[in-house]
Structures are given as structure tokens and as C-alpha cells.
């Protein structure tokens, strides 16, 4: 990832979970990684819902 890309990802992470000012650079990087993993998990959960019959799911 380019430097600009890294900064953008970090800014998005900070905005998304409103990290406080006390967070270190290393910690912010870890949040970025955690958010990316969780984004992936969320996408996988959506695919599970698409594969399972929609009529089984209550609104």
C-alpha cells in the first residue's frame, strides 16, 4: 500500500471508530488491520445470508 493509501486507511479507521487522540501510530495501524478483517467477515456474513433461503429469515 502506498503512503497515501496508508494514511487514507488510517483516517478512515479513526473516523469509523472515533479513536481518541491517545492512540499511538502502531495502535492505529492495528485498528486498520482489525477493521479490514472485520469488513471481510461482514462481507462473508452477507454472502451467507444470500445463500440461505430468504424466506427462512424473519424481517
Amino acid at each position: 500500500m502506498s503512503d497515501a493509501g496508508k494514511i487514507e486507511a488510517q483516517l478512515r479507521a479513526i473516523a469509523k471508530v472515533r479513536l481518541p487522540h491517545g492512540a499511538s501510530e502502531e495502535e492505529i495501524a492495528d485498528f486498520v488491520r482489525g477493521l479490514a478483517i472485520l469488513d471481510d467477515v461482514t462481507l462473508r456474513a452477507r454472502r451467507v445470508a444470500e445463500r440461505l433461503a430468504q424466506d427462512e429469515m424473519q424481517p
Binding site: 479507521a13 469509523k16 471508530v17 472515533r18 479513536l19 481518541p20 491517545g22 492512540a23 495502535e27 492495528d30 485498528f31 488491520r33 482489525g34 477493521l35 478483517i37 472485520l38 469488513d39 467477515v41 461482514t42 462473508r44 456474513a45 452477507r46 454472502r47 451467507v48 445470508a49 445463500r51 440461505l52 427462512e56 429469515m57 424473519q58 424481517p59
Partner: protein, 471 residues
């Protein structure tokens, strides 16, 4: 004479009730083991020798006066630091709750005490049952008694460690995504996560409201049964005496689509359990289930949302009072959109029904206790449970009961384990099945004492002033 730490709960409690040994002598023995061994293991973060000896003395006085004690008479216990024990610190291994002392027992703790159990102290754990293993908390992390540099599992790390090391005979632990079963597996003992709403959770710190469970860790299936029954407010029944013959044991087809993640030692443990079950007359039934990923993804979304809802505001308000792993894990869930949370909620009954249907004609489902043996303690990825599907979360998401038990050792000498999952209200069935395995091949399915922890430590009552451990 068999060392006290190798006796069953049923046997030792009977000895105490019959006045063959006093509760004070039992308590003193186990406190001596804590003094001798726990500096290295860090299984207890709040030892409570004075309270334990007082309780033991009271029990002896009561028995000597003709009183009748219950199923845990004189049995030494550890209680996870997220569960309240009246008069003891209850900080969940977190600086954020430092100085908090419980004023009342959690209901399950009260039941264990009422049955005669002696609380030796609070068992170490990951911060608030979620942040660890961490080296930036008020307490150092618990270490695996089979190899001090290896992960003992978590978050109920101290529960697994104190039981496996023979520092007590039973422990109260909690499980939100495997936190009872993982340390039981990695320390080579038994751990039961009961079904949802089976045991009361009051007096226990909330992690993820609909995923949390409380249950026992112990050295044998029967010990686990006794602890579970006491925690449920029942008198334990007689020991189980049947066999595996005629049982139908389900196994997921295609290794639940996670064969690539299963370590060879774990696969060997599952194969060994299947071989023993077949030789004892059980049927092994391949089951077509929703993939493990189908449960893991929405279960993880739900858990991370609930954790954030419970803890993110506290973390943000007192940033420096939490460890880095807890901060990371508690906040990332805020990044999940509300519609994804609802999706995970709506998938829950669907997947529960599919699992129930698939298990309708088997006695249990046999799966790994963990996909790999315990790795180095110092290099556990904070997000390991999100990256790849883990079998444990299935039972939290569906609310089904699950029981982890030993299944031998890997090539590097570390314990490996299996778990069996059952339909709702099948806890006793699972305990019976585990006991059948334990009896069929004790060399493989019974808990063992780690090297260096056998035998009786030197008497060291003069050293029993055990302060709460700090870094």
C-alpha cells in the same frame, strides 16, 4: 495414598463429609501447591488464602456439629476474575476496574459455596474476558503448565491452568466464543459450555450480552458433571456407567470445509476419537451441515457489535486504563453497520434450525477443541478469532451446549483436545459420552498432571501470605 489433587471431586467430598480428612487440611494442601507452583504459572491473580481457610474452618465446625455438607464439601475451587465472589476483588484482570470489590456472590458462585466448595481465589483471565493474552495489564498472563512459553488458551486462561496444574479441583469459567473450551483443550482438561439460558449470569461481567455463558472446568467428566449440577442448583446424580456402544456420533462432512486449517496433530486426535468410538461399538455418521464459515461470520459480527455496545464507551472514556488488545477488540465492532448487525441476528434462528435438523438423529457432533495446538504465548494475533473460522463460536451463536475434553498430545508434547456439541438440554448426554471416552481409553482421553507438578510440595504454611499479584 493418592495425592489429593488426583482425587475425584466425588471421592474427596465424601472423605470430607465422612471426617476422614478436614476441609482445613484439604485447603492447606492446595494453598501449599499454589505457593509452590503458581509464581511461574500465574493461574491465580487474586489468591485468597485467609478467606479460604476461614471457609474451610467454618465447614469443619459445621460438620463436627453434625451438619450435612453438599456435593462440593471441602472442594478447592478457582473462580474466574470476571465473576463476583463477595469480599474479594472483582476487576476482571483490568486496571479499569481496579479497586472494585464484590459485595455479593454471583448466583453460580453462591451455589458452589452452599454445596461446600472452598474458593481459593480468583482465576487469572484475559482482560474482561476478551483482551489477551496481554503483557500490559495489572497481572501477567497465565502460562500453560505443559510449557510455560505456550498459550494456555483464553479467555478463561487461569481456569484451565489452575485445574490442569492441580492447584484446585474445579473452576468457574465463562465462554463467549470458546473461552471455556479453548483453555480446557490447550491445558488438557474438561470444559463445559452449557446451553444458552441454562445457568444464571448475574454477578458476572457482561462481554457480549447474547453470546455469554458460564460453566465449569475440571479434571474429569464426572467432576465436570458435579460442578455443572451444583451451578444449576441441583444435587448431582450417580456416576455414569454405560459405554459408547450404540451411540451415533456425527462428524461434519468434508471437515466442515476447514480441512486446510486443521493441524495434523488435531486431525490425529479426531481420527483417534473416531477409531476408539468405532471399536467400542458406536456409529460414526457423516453430517451435511452449513459450513463452519456460515456460523462463524455472522456469529463474529454479532459478538463484535455486542462487545462494542457494552465496552466501547468505557474504553474511550478511560483509554489508559485498558490494555491495547482489549482496546482494539472492543472498538473495532463500532465499524459494523446496523443492517449487518440485524442480518447476523436474523441469520441466527435460521442456522440454529439447520444445525438442529442436521443433528436430529445423532447423539452429538464431534469436532476439534481447537484447530491447532497451543502456540507461543508472546505472539498470539489479537484478531486470530476473526480471521479464520473457529469451531467454538458455533455453540455460542446457536446456544447449543458443547463440551471439550482431552484427546492426547501432539508431537511437541502439548495437549490436543476434541469437543462434542449437542442439541439444547443435552449437557448430561455430552458428559456421559465424554466419560465413556475417558473410560474406554484413559491413556488418551483422561487428564494428566503436567511434568514437574506431581507429588507433594514441601509444607509451606508459613509462606501463605499471598498478596494479589502485580506486574
Amino acid at each position: 495414598m493418592t495425592a489429593l489433587e488426583n482425587l475425584s471431586i466425588r471421592k474427596l467430598a465424601a472423605m470430607v463429609r465422612a471426617r476422614e480428612i478436614s476441609a482445613v487440611d484439604v485447603t492447606t494442601h492446595f494453598l501449599g501447591r499454589i505457593v509452590a507452583y503458581d509464581d511461574a504459572l500465574c493461574g491465580f491473580n487474586v489468591p485468597a488464602p485467609e478467606a479460604a481457610l476461614d471457609a474451610a474452618h467454618d465447614l469443619d465446625t459445621y460438620l463436627n456439629a453434625g451438619g450435612e455438607a453438599g456435593a462440593l464439601a471441602g472442594i478447592p475451587l478457582s473462580i474466574k476474575d470476571t465473576a463476583d465472589v463477595a469480599g474479594l476483588p472483582s476487576a476482571g484482570a483490568s486496571a479499569s476496574r481496579s479497586g472494585r470489590t464484590a459485595t455479593a456472590d454471583a448466583t453460580v458462585v453462591a451455589r458452589m459455596k452452599a454445596a461446600g466448595g472452598i474458593v481459593l481465589g480468583k482465576a487469572n483471565c484475559h482482560e474482561l474476558a476478551f483482551g489477551g493474552p496481554s503483557f500490559d495489564l495489572p497481572f501477567p498472563p497465565a502460562r500453560n503448565p505443559w510449557n510455560l512459553d505456550r498459550f494456555p488458551g483464553g479467555s478463561s486462561s487461569g481456569s484451565g491452568v489452575t485445574v490442569a496444574a492441580g492447584l484446585c479441583l474445579g473452576s468457574l469459567a465463562t465462554d463467549t466464543a470458546g473461552s471455556i473450551r479453548l483453555p480446557a483443550t490447550m491445558c488438557g482438561v474438561f470444559g463445559l459450555k452449557p446451553g444458552h439460558d441454562t445457568l444464571p449470569l448475574d454477578g458476572i461481567a457482561v462481554l457480549a450480552a447474547t453470546m455469554d455463558h458460564v460453566g465449569p472446568v475440571a479434571r474429569t467428566a464426572d467432576d465436570t458433571r458435579i460442578l455443572f449440577d451444583v451451578m444449576a442448583g441441583r444435587s448431582p446424580g450417580s456416576p455414569f456407567v454405560e459405554s459408547l456402544k450404540g451411540l451415533r456420533i456425527g462428524v461434519p462432512e468434508n471437515e466442515w470445509d476447514v480441512g486446510r486449517l486443521i493441524h495434523p496433530d488435531v486431525r490425529a486426535a479426531i481420527d483417534g476419537a473416531i477409531e476408539v468410538a468405532r471399536s467400542e461399538g458406536a456409529d460414526i455418521v457423516p453430517l451435511r451441515l452449513p459450513s463452519l464459515e456460515d456460523f462463524h461470520a455472522p456469529g463474529t459480527v454479532l459478538m463484535m457489535c455486542e462487545v462494542a455496545a457494552e465496552h466501547a464507551a468505557s474504553v474511550r472514556a478511560a483509554w489508559d486504563k485498558f490494555g491495547a488488545i482489549f482496546r482494539a477488540r472492543a472498538l473495532v465492532g463500532e465499524g459494523i453497520a446496523v443492517h449487518d448487525f440485524r442480518l447476523a441476528e436474523r441469520l441466527r434462528p435460521v442456522l440454529r434450525k439447520r444445525l438442529l435438523d442436521a443433528m436430529s438423529n445423532v447423539d452429538c457432533l464431534l469436532v476439534p477443541g481447537a484447530l491447532a495446538p497451543p502456540g507461543p504465548l508472546a505472539s498470539v494475533d489479537p484478531f486470530y478469532f476473526m480471521k479464520d473460522p473457529i469451531p467454538n463460536i458455533v455453540a455460542n451463536y446457536t446456544g447449543f451446549p458443547a463440551l471439550a475434553f482431552p484427546a492426547g498430545f501432539g508431537g511437541d508434547g502439548m495437549p490436543v483436545g476434541v469437543q462434542i456439541m449437542g442439541v439444547p438440554r443435552s449437557e448430561h448426554r455430552l458428559l456421559d459420552i465424554a466419560e465413556s471416552f475417558e473410560r474406554a481409553d484413559p491413556s488418551r482421553f483422561a487428564a494428566r498432571t503436567p511434568p514437574g507438578l506431581e507429588g507433594r510440595p514441601e509444607p509451606c504454611l508459613f509462606k501463605l501470605e499471598l498478596p494479589a499479584r502485580a506486574m
